[in-house]
């Protein structure tokens, strides 16, 4: 599956070496968590996940080409 990861500003702040978009080929089906590990991103650093624009979660199984948004740690108010 062709996966595009979109990393938020907050995530890149704690993963300085990664760009705003990461493209990778993943053997499907796979959980978001597994995809993150494959991309070298520790899942604990991801606060919020979106899959193709809708809110998702790290246990969600992906079985198609997808755009996954990753929001890193951020403060509340």
């Amino acid at each position: 599956m062709r996966i595009t990861l979109h990393l938020s500003g907050g995530l890149r702040a704690v993963l300085e070496q990664l760009p705003e978009q990461v493209k990778l080929e993943v053997e499907g089906p796979a959980s978001v968590r597994d995809i993150l590990i494959q991309a070298g991103i520790n899942p604990v650093l991801v606060m919020v996940v979106t899959v193709d624009g809708d809110r998702g979660d790290k246990e969600q199984i992906i079985d198609h080409d997808a755009a996954i948004g990753l929001i890193g740690p951020m403060a509340g108010g």
Binding site: G10, V14, V49
Partner: protein, 632 residues
């Protein structure tokens, strides 16, 4: 010509009723930008040293920034400052909504309040007209009720701030309320308004703002909105707002639970962002010109009644939900509403209530003293305590002093779990395994507040197992390793410059911090508004200057101020976290000293945490250095 600014400082002496308008000095705008910068500098210059926070001579500064009111994402911020009733030192608080822009459209960048009105009063500003009116009919009534009533009386187009009974009764953590869900929450500024008998300020402005390049700003401004919307986090962030971080904070074991006894709340999914959306939310409510409305306005029904309330935000979930252990989002929302109407900071209110409940649990406060039994996990107990605090009735008189003073008075070891720094209660991040965050809390100028430097993400990055470990251990995500203590100072210092910069500019930092809307966009927008070319680093220099200034202010105002005021409560360096992902972790006193030593060194402060003369001169505060040398 100060492009971007309204151009005028408005001073109101509440004792005499005298009103004075003066131009905003060029050098003030140049060196301090606005907002928090103006607050810090004007307090330093104009507040007579040694003034008691509740004395009529205490000064309240309400300052917008050069970008407030312009077509720039989230340009609705207003900054408030005074000498703190909670800490006796520097106090400021930032507020969203629509008040600041209204002030600018009326013609004023800054509002300075001194003196004390002889009877309950409210201030009405309508363009050049400034008047004091009797607030007799509103005194004693809720903050929200009062705003609603004044809008009806004066007109819906007025933007209004109010205090509730808590401010009137000088509760040391009383807040300022606005627009049915916004607050200048922290550091007790509401109580200072109360001490001046000022119930509300209502502003209507119909003027425009001078813009250096209005066509350029319109184009770049429109672009900015499109860019923010295109950010990957945009769609995921807005629906739940700040409540959406609740899950993660629990999963990394940083959630204040049961008065910070522990840092993981098993019931967190009942009080998280999803719960807000599914059970409460009616409207995504936003501030002026904001593309990412984080406010969640909704309706909550509990056994005690049904309320309409904005929130709960993450902090309210953390301190009313976690610290007081309330089991449902409806209950948290109800307690939130009670705070809002009474004019109490939900953060301090939650921590004070939690302290009282732990005291009761330990037999340090009796049923007779409290007036009834109080327990964690009980909404009625929380509401009872909040109402007592706001009215200073019975046990409320002790609690209204904040946990530091209350524990000092009660004694019996209750100070070891009075969760504060400098006299201001701790906000929503349990930091026994987050040394950067701990350092941020220890060194924040207003007391234990997270919003100067939110370093928790970096701490977690440091303590989380490496990806390699995750793969080889088959997960291993349930327990966090101990976060390294060394090397935290630089990150905290950077954040202490970046985050408050937005408070100087008069805009929200969320689009930058959470969505990654880049600093160069703000450089461009700043230029188009003001005509001043300032690089991001130059803007940060202003923020750095302000940091040292607020430290110097507290040094001037607090007898014996220094290192010993920077420590957290004993719970954090004596008690390991008992369970959850950070089980067993805490920071020792020695480790706290490592954090402080490294920080003071990097800051150019002496071993007692006081800025050196050399440092003050380096950042353009030679006059401050001189004043400190002369002992005020």
């Amino acid at each position: 010509m100060l492009y971007g600014y309204a151009g005028t400082m408005l001073e109101v002496d509440l004792t005499s009723g005298r009103i004075r308008k003066t131009p905003v000095p060029d050098d003030l705008a140049r060196d301090y930008l606005g907002g928090r910068g103006f607050v810090a500098r004007l307090l330093w210059e104009r507040l007579r040293s040694g003034t008691d926070p509740f004395d009529p001579e205490n000064l309240i500064v309400i300052a917008t920034g050069p970008l407030s009111g312009h077509l720039v994402p989230a340009s609705g911020k207003t900054h408030f400052g005074t000498k703190s009733p909670a800490t006796g030192g520097y106090a400021d608080s930032n507020m969203g909504g629509h008040f600041g822009p209204a002030l600018k459209y009326a013609g004023y960048d800054v509002l300075l309040l001194t003196g004390r009105a002889s009877e309950p009063t409210f201030l009405v500003i309508e363009d050049e007209s400034v008047a004091l009116r009797s607030a007799e009919e509103w005194w004693g009534r809720g903050a929200i009720t009062t705003e609603k009533g004044l809008k009806k009386e004066l007109g819906e187009e007025f933007r209004i701030i109010t205090i509730g009974p808590a401010g009137e009764n000088l509760v040391r953590f009383a807040c300022i309320s606005h627009d049915f869900g916004r607050q200048a929450g922290r550091a007790g500024i509401g109580a200072v308004l109360g001490s001046k008998h000022l119930k509300a300020i209502a502003v209507k402005g119909t003027g425009g703002l001078p813009v250096f390049d209005v066509d350029g700003l319109y184009e770049k401004g429109r672009e900015a909105y499109l860019k923010v919307r295109a950010k990957p986090g945009f769609a995921g962030w807005t629906p739940e707002g700040t409540a959406g971080i609740t899950d993660w904070v629990n999963q990394v074991g940083a959630f204040p639970t049961r008065n910070f006894q522990t840092s993981y709340f098993p019931g967190y999914q009942k009080i998280n962002g999803k719960a807000v959306v599914e059970h409460l939310k009616i409207t995504d409510k936003g501030c002026f010109c904001c593309p990412t409305p984080c406010g969640k306005y909704g309706k909550a029904s509990t056994s005690l009644g049904t309320v309409h309330v904005e929130g709960p935000e993450y902090e309210s979930i953390a301190l009313l939900g976690g610290a007081c252990v309330l089991g449902s989002i409806e209950e948290v929302a109800y307690a939130n509403y009670v705070c809002d109407e009474l004019g109490l900071d939900t953060i301090s209110g939650g921590v004070v209530a939690a302290w009282a409940m732990e005291c009761f649990e330990k037999g340090l406060l009796s049923e007779e003293q409290v007036g009834r039994e109080i327990h964690f996990e009980d909404l009625e107990s929380v509401v009872y305590l909040l109402e007592k605090m706001a009215s200073r009735d019975g046990i409320g008189d002790l609690l209204a002093e904040g946990v530091m003073r209350a524990a000092a008075k009660l004694g019996r070891g209750s100070d070891s779990f009075a969760i504060h720094v400098k006299g201001l209660e701790w906000s929503g991040y349990e930091s026994r395994n987050a040394p950067g965050m701990m350092l941020a809390y220890m060194t924040a100028d207003v007391g234990a507040h997270h919003n100067r430097a939110w370093a928790l993400g970096h701490d977690v990055a440091g303590s989380a197992a490496s990806v390699h470990d995750l793969i080889s251990a088959g997960g291993g995500r349930d327990k966090m390793a101990k976060a390294p203590v060394a090397g935290k100072a630089e990150r905290v210092i950077d954040l202490q410059h970046i985050r408050p910069l937005f408070d100087c500019l008069g805009i929200c930092r969320l689009q930058y911090m959470e969505l990654g809307f880049e600093g160069q966009n703000y450089e461009e927008l700043f230029y188009l508004v003001t005509g001043r070319r300032m690089k991001w680093d130059e803007l940060l220099e202003v923020s750095e200057r302000v940091w040292h200034l607020t430290r110097a202010f507290s040094k001037r105002e607090i007898e014996g101020f220094g290192r010993k005021y920077d420590y957290p409560p004993r719970r954090f360096f004596q008690e390991p976290i008992p369970d959850g992902p950070n089980e067993g972790h805490f920071l020792t006193r020695d480790e706290l000293d490592v954090l402080l030593d490294e920080y003071y060194q990097a800051r150019g402060w002496d071993a007692n945490g006081i800025p050196t003369e050399k440092t003050l001169c380096r950042v353009g505060l030679a006059d401050v250095a001189e004043a400190l040398k002369q002992g005020k």
